[in-house]
């Protein structure tokens, strides 16, 4: 079973067979609980959707896994390292929600944007090595945007931009790709191409964590983590879409695009 709840008594096993291990994580802002004793493990190579209503703790969970936020109690590890270590090593590629709000009058070519994803690995004051160039080229090839390399980011379509951001995230040669609502403002055709790209990347061994409030995305992934303060479901996509978790998450008002069961 690719998505498992870590047994509460085990603590953190520094096993590397899991891409992410989250154990007894609690976060509260004042008296407001955001994450309530959340534990789960995601094995290497899984394609996992994280779903839940706005304010249900998705973004907070994401920040913990990215090492941008320290939980009040509990731990998270990414490939056996602390999230901070993993992030600094380039193990995590990240495509944030703010992508859609980026100022696209920014004067930069696609190649320059993709290179940006490699900057922390290159190091302050250093020039790119042959190895760095190779990683950047490979990232553009994987995302299928090599032919756009000299185009300005502002001149791309929404779908092409999405791919450019994937390439940027891939430039650090991550083992885990985290996406936070990346398709906001992208038309349906481009969105489906985007899903196909992610599927291909996953098939090549990349672990993917796709955060979205959009239930449609959960048809794309293999496994689902449903978060609303507590972990409500850690199950296969199929189970998630057919059981009552959806109702518990969103109340009765759920409509799944392309997936009407009656």
């Amino acid at each position: 079973m690719p998505v498992t709840r870590t047994a509460p008594s085990t603590g953190i096993g520094r096993s590397t067979s899991n891409a992410i291990e989250v154990v007894h994580v609690n976060v509260a802002y004042g008296s407001q609980k955001i994450l309530d004793n959340v534990s789960f493990a995601i094995p290497q190579g899984a394609y996992v959707g994280v779903v839940g209503p706005n304010g249900g703790g998705k973004t907070t969970m994401l920040k913990i896994i990215l090492g941008l936020l320290q939980p009040q109690s509990g731990t998270a590890t990414v490939f056996g390292k602390t999230p901070r270590e993993a992030r600094k090593a380039g193990t995590i590629g990240y495509v944030p929600q703010s992508v859609s709000q980026t100022d696209f009058s920014f004067p930069a070519t696609v190649a320059e944007i993709v290179k940006g994803g490699r900057v922390p690995q290159i190091g302050i004051g250093r020039r790119m090595s042959a190895r760095d160039r190779e990683a950047i080229e490979h990232a553009m090839k994987e995302a299928g945007i090599t032919h756009l390399r000299n185009r300005l980011i502002g001149g791309l379509s929404g779908g092409e931009r999405q791919k450019a951001f994937i390439a940027r995230a891939l430039a650090s040669e991550p083992r885990l790709l985290i996406l936070d609502e990346p398709t906001t403002g992208v038309d349906p055709t481009a969105r489906h191409q985007f899903y196909a790209l992610l599927k291909t990347l996953n098939e090549r061994g990349l672990t993917i964590l796709y955060v979205s409030h959009d239930v449609e995305v959960m048809q794309e992934v293999s496994f689902v983590l449903a978060l609303n303060q507590k972990l409500l479901c850690h199950c296969s996509s199929h189970e998630f879409l057919t059981n009552e978790t959806l109702h518990r998450l969103y109340g009765g008002d759920v409509e799944i695009a392309h997936h009407h069961t009656h």
Binding site: Y94, P96, G116, V119, N150, G154, G155
Partner: protein
């Protein structure tokens, strides 16, 4: 050659050295302010630096150094407020801009008896660059260029998307601090040639003009430096021969280039 007789005067040689350094560093800082919609930062710092100049005159210390100290302190404070207090970036800028100007006004009225040539401070004057100024401008100018080159990749990455840069492990706060302090230093160094009220223009307008050519970041920066150098050198010649204000002339030339670039026939529309 007749036109080169200008270099028989030592003060003109000094003006050109200061001018060329200013011309190179202003757009190097400016491009990072413009692309993160922080263009007003330059203007705020220049108004605050006027308070530093006033302190310099009052206490008999080096005006450029005092301007630098005061505007660097303001730059760090503005950035701190922007991050911590969540006061809108531009409201914080207005506070500092008017505050700096008010302090300067009061201090300058106290020093009324002193021989302060306010208009050369405000609008730049090529005759006022002395040899101490040149030493300060040369040393710190080279330091600014070196620091920008050192953090170039990181600055580009942060300017494009701060959240993404932070998530990738870049020290965003530190690098932002470095940028605003460099902006403060640049403002103070540019004071002599373009004047306090026009420094912001020299930092921003060549960049805006270069952006009209819709190129990548590095090319845009190189075009901006070329435009800035052309404006400063041509401006210095014109202001020498026609006795115009150097700052005003330089900025008018930069604006003319911007208009020519923006309105040129066959210009492709930049995306979005």
């Amino acid at each position: 050659m007749e036109i080169l007789s200008i270099f028989h005067y030592e003060f003109m040689i000094r003006a050109f050295i200061a001018g060329i350094i200013t011309a190179v560093i202003a757009p190097m800082i400016g491009i990072f302010l413009v692309t993160r919609r922080y263009s007003y930062m330059a203007d705020t710092l220049s108004h605050v630096s006027l308070a530093g100049v006033a302190i310099g005159y009052l206490t008999g210390t080096q005006p450029i150094i005092m301007a630098m100290v005061v505007s660097a302190a303001a730059a760090v404070s503005v950035d701190q407020i922007r991050m911590k207090r969540k006061v809108f970036g531009d409201s914080a800028l207005i506070l500092f801009l008017s505050g700096g100007l008010a302090v300067a006004a009061v201090l300058l009225s106290i020093s009324r008896g002193l021989n302060v040539d306010l208009s050369s401070v405000l609008f730049g004057s090529i005759a006022t660059v002395n040899s101490t100024d040149i030493n300060i401008i040369a040393v710190l100018g080279v330091l600014v260029i070196a620091t920008i080159l050192l953090f170039y990749k990181e600055l580009v990455s942060i300017s494009f998307n701060e959240e993404l840069a932070a998530a990738a492990g870049l020290r965003v706060t530190l690098i932002n601090r470095i940028l605003v302090v460099l902006a403060a230093v640049t403002v103070s160094l540019s004071m002599r040639i373009v004047g306090i009220l026009l420094i912001g223009a020299l930092m921003v307008i060549p960049v805006l003009a270069a952006m009209q050519f819709s190129r990548g970041f590095r090319t845009t920066l190189l075009i901006a430096i070329a435009i800035s150098l052309f404006s400063v050198i041509t401006g210095l010649f014109i202001s020498y021969y026609l006795d115009f204000s150097s700052g005003g002339t330089i900025v008018l030339i930069a604006i003319a280039i911007f208009l020519a670039a923006a309105l040129r026939p066959g210009r492709k529309h930049a995306g979005s």
